[in-house]
C-alpha cells in the first residue's frame, strides 16, 4: 500500500466511498470539484493513478486504466440550476441520466442523452461521449454540452464554455472534454442544452424504402432487418409523416433494448456505407444489431469470434471508419485492441494530455495511443 502523510490520509478518509467494489487501494467520492482537485494534487505528488467512475456502467470502453485510487461522482448528485424557459440545465456529474430526463420531462423537455441509459450518470455519458439515437435529428451529446467544469490532472478547477445556448467565447473545452474519457481530469458538472419534446410522438415499425423520404425524423433504426422510424412534433406534423411512411404505428417512442452478448461493439462508418456494413454483420450467428441510418453507427452484440472482428475492423478502417469494443472478455482483449489504428493527430492529442495531466494521473492510458 502506498504510504501517505497524515494530512493526505485524513483527506482520503473524509472523502472515502464505501459503496464501491474495487481492487484499488482507495475509493473516494469528492463532494466538490475543489476536493476532487485536492485528491488529484496529492495523487500527482505521490505518483498515484486515479480512475474515475459514475456507476461504473461503461468502464469497459477503451484500455483498462490502472488505479491506486478510484474516484466516484456519487456525492456530486445535484441538479444545480434548471432554467426551463432558457432550455438549459446545470447538473453535477453523478446525477443519473434517467433521473435528469424524468425531471426535465415534467416541463415537456429532453436532454437528448441516450434513451436507454441503464444506471449511467450524466458525467459518465459525457466523458464517454455516448449519444442517443435522436442524434440524427438533434446532433450528438457533444453538441448538447454548453459548459463543463473539470478538476484537472494538475489540480486546478477550470470551467469552459458558458450557460447560454450559443457561444463562441474562447476555446470549446466542453466539446473537447466530451468523449475524453476522463483523460484531462474529473468532469464535475456540465450545463446541457435542452430541447422541447414535441407534443406528439410516434414509432413506426417495419417501414419500407419510404424511410428515406421522412423529413428529419428523430431516428431511423434498423434492428435485425426491420426498419423503425421515430417522429415527433405537433399532431399534424406527426400524422402527416406517419401516413407517408406506412408500417405499424405505435404512439410514443418505443426504443429497443440495448444489444446483449458477451461482446458488444460499436461499428462507425460513413452513413452512406451503412447497408454494406449491415451486410457484413447480418450473416453472423448469435448476433444482434441496431444500425442508425443517417448517422453511421451500428451497435452489435455478438460472441467472441476473433476472425470476424479482425475482418470487420479491417473493412471498417478501409471505409475510413472504426470498430470499437464496448465490452468484451479479457481473453479477447488480449488478442484484439479495443480501439484499432490510432488517429493521425496523435501527437497533438499527446500534448493535450500532457498539458492537462502532466503527471499522468487521470484515467491513465484509456484513450487510443495509450494516452
Amino acid at each position: 500500500m502506498t504510504s501517505l502523510r497524515s494530512a493526505t490520509a485524513r483527506l482520503f478518509e473524509r472523502l472515502k466511498d464505501d459503496s464501491v467494489e474495487t481492487d484499488a487501494e482507495f475509493a473516494v467520492a469528492p463532494d466538490s470539484l475543489e476536493s476532487a482537485a485536492e485528491v488529484l494534487t496529492v495523487a500527482a505528488d505521490a505518483g498515484m493513478a486515479v480512475s474515475f467512475q459514475g456507476t461504473g456502467s461503461h468502464q469497459s470502453i477503451g484500455y483498462r486504466a490502472p488505479a491506486n485510487v478510484v474516484m466516484t461522482t456519487r456525492r456530486l448528485d445535484r441538479i444545480v440550476d434548471w432554467q426551463p424557459e432558457d432550455l438549459t440545465v446545470v447538473v453535477e456529474a453523478g446525477v443519473s441520466v434517467a433521473d435528469l430526463e424524468a425531471t426535465v420531462a415534467q416541463r415537456g423537455q429532453t436532454t437528448v442523452l441516450p434513451e436507454v441509459p441503464g444506471g449511467a450518470t450524466v458525467g459518465g455519458v459525457v466523458a464517454c461521449g455516448l449519444s442517443g439515437y435522436r442524434r440524427l435529428r438533434y446532433g450528438p451529446t457533444r453538441d448538447r454540452v454548453l459548459e463543463v467544469s473539470l478538476a484537472t490532472g494538475y489540480g486546478a478547477v477550470v470551467r469552459g464554455g458558458g450557460r447560454v445556448v450559443k457561444n463562441v467565447t474562447g476555446y470549446d473545452l466542453p466539446r473537447l472534454a466530451t468523449g475524453s474519457l476522463g483523460t484531462f481530469g474529473l468532469i464535475g458538472n456540465v450545463c446541457l442544452k435542452l430541447w422541447p419534446v414535441g407534443s406528439v410522438a410516434a414509432t413506426v415499425r417495419g417501414v419500407g424504402p419510404e424511410w428515406r423520404d421522412a423529413f428529419r425524423p428523430l431516428a431511423v433504426l434498423e434492428t435485425d432487418g426491420v426498419v423503425t422510424v421515430y417522429v415527433a412534433g405537433i399532431r399534424e406534423q406527426v400524422d402527416a409523416q406517419v401516413s407517408d411512411l406506412g408500417g405499424e404505428v405505435t404512439e410514443g417512442l418505443r426504443w429497443p433494448d440495448p444489444v446483449g452478448g458477451p461482446v458488444r461493439l460499436s461499428l462507425r462508418i460513413p452513413p452512406s456505407r451503412i447497408e454494406a456494413a449491415i451486410a457484413h454483420v447480418a450473416g453472423w450467428s448469435d448476433t444482434s444489431y441496431r444500425a442508425q441510418h443517417g448517422v453511421g453507427e451500428i451497435e452489435i452484440g455478438t460472441t467472441a469470434v476473433l476472425d470476424r472482428l479482425v475482418e470487420l475492423r479491417s473493412w471498417a478502417e478501409t471505409q475510413r471508419g472504426a470498430l470499437v469494443i464496448v465490452e468484451a472478455p479479457d481473453e479477447l482483449l488480449a488478442e484484439f485492441d479495443p480501439w484499432g489504428t490510432p488517429p493521425p493527430s496523435l501527437e497533438i492529442q499527446r500534448r493535450l494530455k500532457a498539458a492537462f495531466d502532466p503527471a499522468g494521473v487521470c484515467n491513465r492510458g484509456r484513450l487510443p495511443g495509450g494516452l
Binding site: 457561444n167 423529413f215 471508419g321
Partner: protein, 466 residues
C-alpha cells in the same frame, strides 16, 4: 527580406504581395481594427500552405489565415507584423456525396456558393451568416459562424465533420472524419471556432442538410418588444423550435424598409420573423399555431409569405440589415453578445439606456430564439471623439450581457476586439487551461498570436499549476 524571397520562389511573384497598398488593404477585416502586414501570400494547395508556414516558422514571422475578410472581431487582423495567408484561391468543391450528404470543399468556397452548388440535389449548407454572399467556409470554420437558421440546425461546428489543416509545425493533418465519433480526442471540435490559432484550414468535410419539403415564413409586428419576446418563449414552450426566430426593433425595421421595401410594418416597436420547415401539411399547422400565439400577445399584424418570392423578400429585409444602416451613418459598430433568452428584454432595455447616455444612434436586430443580441451603433468616425464614445458604449453593452448570465460572443468570435474582456467571464485558472489547450497545438505561438486569449493568460510559472 529572406522569407519573402523564399515565398516568391515557392509561389511565384504574382502570388506574393508586399506593395504598401496591398498591405493596407489586407490590414483590416470588416470590423474596426487594423494591424501590421508584412507580406500577403495566396497558396493554392495544402502543400503550398504547409510550405508557407515552414518558411514563416524559419523566419519567426507569425502567420494569419484569412478568407474574405468579413469578420467583425479582428480575428483575421494581424496583431503583430505577420504573413497573411489568403485562402480564397482554394475554392474547389471537390467531392459531393449526395447519399451521404457530405462534401469536401476548399476553405475559400463562398458560403452561398456551396448551397447553390448542391441545390440541385435538394441540399444546402445550413449555417447562414448575414455575410453569406461573401464569407468563406474557411472563415465560417474559424469563427464557428452562426446565422438565423442555427436556431434549429446548430452553428457551424455541427456541420463540419472533418478538417484538413496545416499545423504550426507545417504538417498537413486531418482531424475528425466521415464516420461518427472518430476515436480519440475530438480535435475537430476545438479547431472549429479557434480563429486560425490552432491550425490553418486547407480543406473541410461539410455536412449538407436536406432542403425542407415545406417552408413557411411568418412576419408579426408588435407594439411592445415584451410581447414579441413572450411570443418567442411561448412558441418554444409549445414544443416547437422553428427553423428561425429573428427580431428587429423599430429603428432597424425603418432602416431596412427604406432599403429593400419588403413591406415590414414601420410603426411596430418590434418585428418577429419566424420560419417553420417540415412536412407541407405540418408546416401549415405550425404556421397557424405561431400566428395564434403571436395574436395572443397582441401582435398587430401577422403576415405569412404566400410564395417563395415573398419569403425571399422577407428574408432579404433581415439579411440586408447591416447594409441598410449605411443610410443612417457612414460607419457602424456591430455587437454580438448572448444572454439567456429570458433576459432579452431586460438586457435590451439596458442597451437602449447606454445608447441614450452616450448619445449614439442604436438599431437592433437579433436572433431572438437563442438570445443572441446584435445591437448596432451607426456613427461617423470622422466626427472627433465619436469612435471612443462608441467603443466605451460597446464595452458597457458587453458588461450588462455578462452580468445577466450571458457571454461575450455568440458567433462573431473574440479576435482582437474582445480578448481583453475574456476575464469578465473566465477566471485566471480557466484562461490558463485555454492557454494550455492553445499551446498544445502551437507551442511557439506562430499561428495568429495575441488573439482570443488576453495577455497573461498563462500562469504556468506562477507555481500553482505544474
Amino acid at each position: 527580406m529572406e522569407a519573402v524571397a523564399a515565398l516568391e520562389a515557392l509561389l511565384g511573384e504574382d502570388r506574393v504581395h508586399t506593395h504598401p497598398l496591398d498591405r493596407i488593404l489586407f490590414a483590416k477585416d470588416s470590423g474596426v481594427t487594423s494591424g501590421p502586414v508584412t507580406a500577403i501570400a495566396f497558396p493554392e494547395t495544402a502543400n503550398e500552405t504547409a510550405a508557407c508556414v515552414r518558411i514563416a516558422r524559419q523566419a519567426e514571422m507569425p502567420v494569419v489565415a484569412r478568407g474574405a475578410g468579413t469578420g467583425l472581431a479582428g480575428g483575421a487582423v494581424p496583431a503583430e507584423p505577420s504573413l497573411l495567408l489568403v485562402m480564397t484561391r482554394m475554392n474547389d468543391i471537390v467531392d459531393v456525396d449526395v447519399r451521404g450528404r457530405t462534401a469536401w470543399v476548399g476553405p475559400g468556397v463562398i458560403n452561398l456558393d456551396l448551397s447553390a452548388a448542391v441545390g440541385d440535389h435538394g441540399l444546402h449548407f445550413a449555417p447562414d451568416p448575414s455575410s453569406q454572399q461573401a464569407c468563406t467556409i474557411g472563415g465560417n470554420v474559424g469563427t464557428n459562424a452562426g446565422g438565423p437558421h442555427c436556431l434549429a440546425d446548430g452553428t457551424t461546428v455541427a456541420h463540419i465533420l472533418a478538417v484538413e489543416m496545416v499545423t504550426a509545425d507545417g504538417e498537413v493533418i486531418v482531424v475528425g472524419g466521415e464516420a461518427p465519433d472518430p476515436i480519440g480526442l475530438d480535435l475537430r471540435s476545438v479547431v472549429v471556432g479557434s480563429e486560425g490559432t490552432l491550425g490553418i484550414v486547407t480543406s473541410v468535410l461539410v455536412k449538407l442538410t436536406e432542403n425542407p419539403p415545406g417552408v413557411r415564413t411568418i412576419l408579426a409586428g408588435f407594439d411592445r418588444i415584451e410581447d414579441a419576446s413572450r411570443t418567442v418563449s411561448d412558441i418554444i414552450a409549445a414544443g416547437l423550435v422553428p427553423a428561425a426566430l429573428e427580431m428587429m426593433d423599430r429603428a432597424m425595421v425603418q432602416a431596412v424598409e427604406n432599403f429593400v421595401h419588403a413591406g415590414y410594418p414601420t410603426n411596430a416597436a418590434a418585428v418577429l420573423l419566424a420560419e417553420v420547415a417540415g412536412h407541407p401539411t405540418g408546416v401549415e399547422a405550425e404556421t397557424a399555431l405561431i400566428a395564434r400565439i403571436a395574436e395572443g400577445h397582441d401582435a398587430s399584424r401577422v403576415r405569412v409569405a404566400v410564395d417563395a418570392q415573398e419569403r425571399a423578400l422577407l428574408w432579404k429585409g433581415r439579411k440586408s440589415a447591416f447594409g441598410a444602416v449605411a443610410q443612417a451613418a457612414p460607419d457602424y459598430y456591430l455587437h454580438d453578445t448572448v444572454v439567456p433568452r429570458t433576459k432579452l428584454v431586460e438586457v435590451l432595455q439596458g442597451v437602449y439606456d447606454i445608447a441614450e447616455r452616450y448619445d449614439i444612434a442604436l438599431l437592433n436586430v437579433f436572433h431572438a430564439g437563442d438570445g443572441n443580441l446584435h445591437p448596432l451603433v451607426a456613427y461617423d468616425a470622422a466626427e472627433p471623439g465619436t469612435t471612443d464614445r462608441v467603443r466605451a458604449a460597446a464595452e458597457e453593452m458587453v458588461r450588462i450581457s455578462v452580468d445577466a448570465g450571458g457571454s461575450l460572443s455568440g458567433e462573431h468570435g473574440i479576435g482582437i476586439e474582445k480578448r481583453n474582456l475574456m476575464s469578465l467571464v473566465f477566471s485566471p485558472a480557466d484562461l490558463d487551461a485555454q492557454a494550455r489547450l492553445r499551446d498544445s497545438f502551437d507551442p511557439d505561438g506562430l499561428l495568429n498570436p495575441s488573439k482570443v486569449l488576453p495577455e497573461g493568460s498563462r500562469c504556468f510559472d506562477t507555481g500553482g499549476s505544474s
